[in-house]
Point group: D3
Chain length 328, copies 6
C-alpha cells in the first residue's frame, strides 16, 4: 500500500487545507516526512476535478493560480469537488528545479510510479492510484521552466478513443488560452498525461510562458483557464471567458524540433510567435571561448510559427533551440 | 605589475583577435591560465572606444552584440580604434553566473582591483590600469541577469563635472535604447562605472532585458546601440538610428526600490512598463509550504512605471521585488 | 553469488580479526574495495551469536561496545561463537551519516538486499544470506543518530510465533537496559529485524541515547547488555547484571508520534523521560526568520512518557518532534 | 559608512519588531539582502541592554530564550530599553552551522569587523559601531554547538579594570546559571567579548549545553538568566531567582584542554560534571577502520571537573576531547 | 525501442561524421540531449569493425587513436565498414571520470543495458542491440585510468567456444601491443566484452598505460594496433606491423591481485615490468598523519612480473596495489 | 605571535616525532586543530637542515623520502640537526590537492604568510618566522603534481649574491638528480624559495616526476638526494652518490613555455626527454565533442629538450602543454 496519507478528509463537504504526508527517512531527519500541500473544496454533489501544478518544480503559473484558487474558492460555489495540489513534485518546487533534488527523477516520466520506489515515484503512485481515480477531469499545469519559453497554450492529445479525445479538446478550448495545441506524443511512456488518459479521464495540460518566472499576464491566463475549465465541467457557474479568441496550433512531426550541435552563446534571430519560412535563419551560435570565428547558423527546417525556444543565453550541444508549429 | 598579458598587439592597425592571458595556478592545472577573448580593430587615427560585456556573467545582450561587432567590423570602417572585450568577467560568463565561480567576487564592486589579488581583482586591475586609460569612451553592457528583468535602457550618472556629465548623457542618448535612464548611485564604490568616470572618460552603461536570456529584439537594441555610440564618437560613419524615440526616465531615490520581507511564491500583479499609482498592489507572496494562508500583499510606495522586477518564480526574504521609475 | 569475501575464517576456533572485502570500482579507485571490519571468536562448541552495530552510520553505542568486546573477549571464555561486526553500514559509519554516502540507501530498509545491487544492498544480502543463517541469536544496536534522542531501551517485536516472541522477549529482558520496549512495526518491510526474525532467529534490538554522540553512561549500558545477552545465550558464563530494574514500555499506535507541520526553531517544553498529560503543551516552534510572531504550540495527543524527541535545534516541516510511550 | 540599515526605529518608546537590512548581491539574487531579525522594547527612560544569540549559528538556547523574551516582554515592564537580536550571525543560524555559509567567517573572531568586508564582517561592524555603543550591558549567549557539550554556566573575564571586572562578575552571578566560570582568554583577538569590554561595557557570556540541540531544562536556564540580568540592571522589576546556588568554577590554564592526536571512534570514560584525578583515564580512541587493535587511552593531565567534552561520536586528530575545570 | 537515433546513415558508402542523439531531460535543459560522436566509413562490401574508446571516461589512448583514425581513414582504403565511437561513455569522457557523472554507472558493468534505464544504460543498450549486431569484429580500448597503470597489452578471454577463442587470440596478436594477455574473468557479468562475445563476435580489448594521461609512445601503440586489427580483418590492406615482438602474459588467478589493508602514503619498491620473487617486498604504506611509525610492508604473494599498479600517491584501504602476471 | 605550537622540543638532542599544532575552529570541530607532522633529529653540535615536502599536496616523492628518512635516521649519525616536515601544506596533502582545501591558497605563493591569516598563511608564517631562521640549509621537494610531469631534476635560482648562488648550486649538484636546472623566476613573489633565499640560506628545490604518483625509481632519486645534500652539508658522513652524472639544463626565457589556446583531447607527439627542433609539431588538440574536424597542431617555438609536459588527457584552454629546456 502506498505509504502516503492525507492529513485532511478527501470526501467531506466543506473546505479543507492540509497535506499529503510521505514518510522520508534521511540523514538530516531520521523520522522525517515530505508534506505536500493539498486543498479539497466540496459542495453539493457533482463531478470531481483534480487540479495540479508543479509537476516540474520550476514552472510557476500553475502553482500561483492554484494557490489563488485554493484561497478564494468557497464550497458554496462548488457543485461537486475540487482537489487542488499546487505542487505535485513538492521537493522539486521547493528547490526551484525541474526534477526532484531527492532522487533526480523527472515526475512526468515516472508514472504510474511505485509505492515502494523513490520519493517522486511514491508521489506519482499516490496520484495515479488514489486521486486520479476520484476525478472526472484533470488539469495539469506546465510552463517552460528555467530552460524553455513557450507561447501560452492549453493542449490536448490525439487519442485512440474519439469520444475521449473530443471531450479533452472541448475542455482545452474551454480553458481559453491565447493558443490551443493538438499534440501527438512520440514517447508518452511515463507521462502523467498518459496515466490519466489511460483511466479514461478528461485531461487538459498547458504550456504558459517559461524561463522560471511568471508575469501578471501569464498568471491571469492560468487563473482564468482554471475557472473556465471548472465552469465547462459544471463545477462552477458562470460564463466561460475569452475562449473564442484562442489560435489553434498543431505540432505535426519531429521536424518541428531544432537541436543545437554545438555549445556556445545563443544569438536568436526570431522571437516567440514570429512566422518563419523554411530555410530562414533562426539563430546563430557564437563560440564562448574566443572572438573572430564565424558563428554556426541554424535554419528553419519547415515553415511555421515559433512556438517554443531555448531560454538560457548559453546553449549546450544537444539542446532544443526552437520548436516551429503550424496553424491548424 | 599586473600579470595579465595580451596575446595580440593593442596598438597596431588592422584587426586582431586574441586573448588576455592571466596565469592561474589551481588544482586542475598547476600552470594554467585564464584566456579572456579580446578583439582590437584599428583604422585611420582617431579616438578609442572600449566596449565591454559580461561584467556580470549571466547577462547576454552585450556579449552577443560584441561578438557580432568583432566579427563584422572592418578596419577600413574605423577611424580610431575599437577594443572589444565581450566577456569582462570571463570565468563568470563561462559558468553563467553573476559573480566569478573562482573567487566569488562581483566584478562590478571590485574596481580598481588589485594586481596581486584574486582572479577577478586582477582582471579589474588590468582594465583599470591598462585598457581604460587608452580609451576616450567606454560602453559597458548590463542586463538583468538570471534574477532581475529590466525595461531596455541606456544610462548615465549624475556627475560632479557638468561637462563630463553632458558628454555621457549625449552618448547615452546616441545609444538609442527604447528608454534612457538618469541614475544617482547611492553606493558607487567599486563599480566599473565609477572607475571609468574617475579617469574623466565618457561612460555609457545599459540594462537591456534580463532573466538570463536574450531575444532577437533585445540583441538588436544592443547591436544598434553599439553602432550608434561609435557613430556618435566619430569612429564609425553613418547616421545614428532610432535615438529620437527613447523615453527619458529617472530613479530619484531609495523609495523606488521595493523589498520582500518574506520567502515564498511570487504572484506579480503588474508587469514591466506598466504605470502604477501609489498604494496600488503590485505583487502577492504566497507561502511555499502550504495552502489556505492569506498572501502577503506588496503596495507601490510611489507612483511611476515598473522599470525592473524580480525574475525567479520564488522570492527570498530581502530580495528586490520591483523598481518604480518616473518619467523625466 | 554475493561478491563479498571474508579475509578470515568464519568457522575456526580462536580469535580472528579481519574484514569482509567487497569489490567496489569507482572514480577514485578503479579496482578498489570496501573493507568491513569483522571479528570472529570461537571456543568450545556451542551456539552462535551475531552482534552488529552501525546499521545506521551515526549511532555510536553499538560500535564502541563491540570494539571493546572484540578486543577483550577471549576464545577461552566462549562456548560457541561470537561474530562481531561493529560497523554494518561501514561507508555510512565512516561518513558519520545515517545512510550510505555511496548509494544513499538506508540499510535498515533494504533487507534482504541484492547480490547484484548497490554497495549497501550487497552488504545486506551478505548478512542475510551468509552470516544470519549461521547465528542462533542476533543483537543489532541502534541509537537515535544525529536527529533523534531516545530513552535507553532494548526492544522486541510482537511476532506471529509466540515461542519465537517469548525467546526474543527473554533476550531483551536479559540485555538489562534501563527501559525495555515492546514494538509493533507498522511497516517492517526491508528491516534487518524482519529479515532475521523471518529466519526464525532470536532477535534483540536497542535504542540507546542519540544525537550522534555517546556518553560514558550510555556506552556502559551497551557493553553490559552485550555481555548479558551472551550470558543469556550460554555463550559466556557469569550472572546477568542489572536486568531486574528495567522499566517496561509499550508503543501502542500511530498516535504516539507527533509531527511538526512548520519549519522553525524548536522550543522544547518537556524532556525525555518526563510524564505528560493528553493536551499538555510539549513544544513550541518559533519562526526562524523574524521576531514578534506567536509560536506554533504542539500538544500531547495522548498521555504517557516522552520516549523519543527531535534532536536538532531547528525543525523541518514533517519531522517527528516526539514519541510518547506508555508504561506496560 | 556601514551599509546596514534598521527597518524599525531604535530609539522610540514601545515595542518594534523588524530587521537589520544588509544589501547582499549574489548569483541567486542580484539585488538581494540579508534581513537580520531585531526587536527593540523601550519603556520609561533608563539603561539599555543588548541581548544577542546566534553568534555561532548552531547554538540554540540563546535564540529560543530571546524569541520568547521578544514575544512576551512589554514596554510597560521596561525601565530603559532592551535590544534583542536572537540571531547575530543570521546566515549561520539559518544554515545550522557555527560559521557563516556565505563567507566561512567565525563571527566571534572577526570583531570589530569591516564596513566594506564580507557579510559577517559587516554585521560585526554594525554591532560594534552602532548597537554596542548604545548599550550599558551586553549579554551574549553561547552553547557548545554541534561539536562540543558544556556544563551550563555564565562567564566573566579577568579584566585589567577591577571596577569593570567586578561589574561583569556581578552580572554573571545575577544570571544564576548552575555554574559560573571565570575565564582568562589566551587569545581574545576578534571576540565580541573583547570588543564590548573594550568599550567599557558590562558583559556577560554563557555556555549552556551543546550538541546542536536544546532541552526544556537548558532553555529554562537561558530564559531565567536573561530576566535575572535585566532585573540586575534595573530594567525589569522583581527578584533575581536561583542565583545563589551557582557553583563557581575556574579554568586556570592551557593544561585544562585535552586534545586528540588520532582519528577514531571516541569511547568516553567519564561524563560532564564528573570529578577526575590527575592521570585518570578519561577516554579511549578506537580505530575506525578495523578491530583487534589496542585503543589510544587519554588521561587527565590535571585533577578537576569535566566542564566540556567533544560531542560527535567520531573524533578527528587535533580535536579538543575534554576541558577540566576546577572549583573556584 | 531504444530512444537513441543516429544523425548520420550507418549503412551508406562514404565517410560520415555525426552523432548518436539521446534525449536527456534535466534541470539545465528540459529538452536537452546527449550527442555521442560517431564516424562511419564504408567502402567496397566487406566485413564491419566496430572500434570503441572511452568505455571508461578517463582512459585516453583509445579516444586519441580513434579521433586520428576517423580523421585520416578514407572510404577508398576500406573494404567493408568501420564504425568508430571514440567516446562510448561520452558524459564520463567529458567529465574525465571513470563512471558517468550523470548516473554514476560504470558502463563496463551495465551491459546489455536497458532501453528505459539511465543514460549509461541506454547507451549500452544501443550498442548491444544495434551496433554490435552489425559488426564482425569489435575492438574496445581501455587503459588504466586515473587510478591504475598497466603494461601496454592487448587481451583476449578464455571462452567456451574454442573457435571463437582462437579468432579472438589471433586478432589480439595482430594488434601487436608490446604485451598480450590471456584473461579469465572471474566476474564477467555486465561487461561489454561479455556482451560482444555472447553474440559470437571476434573481440579484442586492451590496457595501454594509465594514470589518466597518454604519451606519444602509448598513442602510437594504440593507433598501430587499430590499423593492424583492421588489416587482420581484411578491411584495410597492407602488412601487420610489429606484432611478432609481443610478450605473452597470463593472469592465472586471484592471488595475482594485491590489496591494501590500510590507508596511507604509498611507497612503491618495484615498478611496472619488473620481475619479483614470491615474498619480495613490493611496497610500503606510510601513515599519512604522523611520522615515526613503522610502515606496513606488502610482499609479493607469487612470483612474476608487475603488470599493473596503483597510481595515486595516496592509497585507500581496499585498493588494488599491484597485479603480478606470469609469462605464458 | 603565530598561534602554532610544536608538541615536541625543537632544540634538544635525540629524535622526536610530533606535530605542529594550529588551532582551527570550524563547523565540524569548534575547538579543533590542524596537526602537522614533524620530526627533529639532533646529534652532536653542527649545522641545521630543514627538509620539507608537500608544499603542494599532490606531489609525493618528497613526502615518501622524508617519511623514510624520519624513520631510519638516528641521532648518532647526525652532526647538527635535521628538521623534517614531510607535509608542509598538510591539509592539501591529506586532500591530495595542489592547494589547501581549507582556504584555496597555493602555499608556494603566500610566503611570508600571515600570523592572523588563513590556515595556509599561518603555516607559511610559522616556517618563515620560526623554522627557516633556525636552518642553514633548506631542501624543499616538488614534483609535477596531478597536472604536470617533469624530468627529474634538482634546481637552483640565479641570485643577486654570487656567493649565495654558488652555495645553492653546489648543494643542487650534490643532490645528484638525473638533471640539474638553473632557473630564473619571472615572478618569484610569495614563493617559499624566495623567502628562504631572502634570509641568506642555502636553498635547493626539485621537480621529480609528476602525475600525482610516485614510482620506485623516482622515490629512490628523492631519498638519495636528501642523503647527498645532508652529506654535502656535513650533517651526515659518507660519500655523495651519483651526482657526477647529472645533466645540466637551463630555462632561459618565456618562450620555453607552450600554452594551449583550445580545450580538447591532447594528442602528444613527443615525450619527456626527447629533443625537438624549432617548429616541430609537439602535440595535437582534438575536439572533445565531435569527430571529423582537423586538430589544432602545436609547434615547438624553440629547439631543446622536453622538460615538462601537461599530464591529464584532456586539456583546457590556457594550460601549459610543454616546457622546452636547453642543455646548459
Amino acid at each position: 500500500m502506498n505509504p502516503i496519507r492525507p492529513t485532511i478528509p478527501l470526501d467531506l463537504p466543506g473546505k479543507h487545507h492540509g497535506f499529503l504526508r510521505l514518510p522520508y527517512s534521511r540523514n538530516d531527519s531520521a523520522w522525517g516526512s515530505v508534506l505536500i500541500p493539498l486543498t479539497v473544496i466540496a459542495g453539493e454533489p457533482g463531478p470531481t476535478a483534480l487540479l495540479t501544478g508543479g509537476n516540474h518544480g520550476d514552472e510557476y503559473e500553475g502553482p500561483i493560480a492554484l494557490q489563488q484558487l485554493a484561497w478564494e474558492l468557497e464550497p458554496a460555489e462548488v457543485t461537486g469537488r475540487v482537489i487542488i495540489a499546487p505542487y505535485l513534485n513538492y521537493p522539486a518546487f521547493r528547490a526551484g528545479t525541474r526534477v526532484s533534488p531527492i532522487d533526480g527523477v523527472n515526475m512526468n516520466r515516472c508514472f504510474p510510479g511505485r509505492r515502494d520506489g523513490t520519493v517522486t515515484q511514491k508521489i506519482a503512485n499516490y496520484f495515479d492510484s488514489v486521486l486520479v481515480p476520484m476525478a472526472d477531469l484533470v488539469l495539469d499545469y506546465h510552463s517552460g521552466g528555467k530552460t524553455l519559453d513557450f507561447l501560452p497554450y492549453a493542449a490536448a492529445h490525439y487519442l485512440d478513443d474519439p469520444a475521449q479525445q473530443a471531450a479533452c479538446v472541448a475542455a482545452m478550448r474551454a480553458f481559453g488560452a491565447p493558443f490551443s495545441m493538438m499534440m501527438r506524443e512520440i514517447d508518452a511512456v511515463g507521462m502523467f498525461d498518459t496515466a490519466v488518459e489511460a483511466q479514461g479521464k478528461v485531461f487538459v495540460t498547458t504550456e504558459i510562458g517559461g524561463g522560471g518566472t511568471a508575469t501578471a499576464a501569464s498568471t491571469r491566463i492560468a487563473l482564468r483557464g482554471a475557472r473556465n475549465v471548472l465552469r465547462h465541467a459544471g463545477i462552477l457557474g458562470g460564463e466561460i471567458e475569452g475562449a473564442e479568441d484562442s489560435v489553434m496550433l498543431d505540432m505535426p512531426g519531429d521536424d518541428c524540433f531544432h537541436f543545437a550541435e554545438r555549445d556556445g552563446l545563443l544569438h536568436p534571430l526570431v522571437d516567440l510567435g514570429e512566422e518563419v519560412a523554411e530555410g530562414q535563419p533562426i539563430a546563430r551560435i557564437w563560440p564562448a571561448d574566443r572572438t573572430g570565428i564565424a558563428p554556426l547558423e541554424m535554419q528553419a527546417s519547415r515553415p511555421g510559427i515559433i512556438a517554443a525556444r531555448h531560454f538560457p543565453g548559453l546553449v549546450q550541444s544537444g539542446d532544443c533551440l526552437a520548436v516551429i508549429a503550424m496553424r491548424a
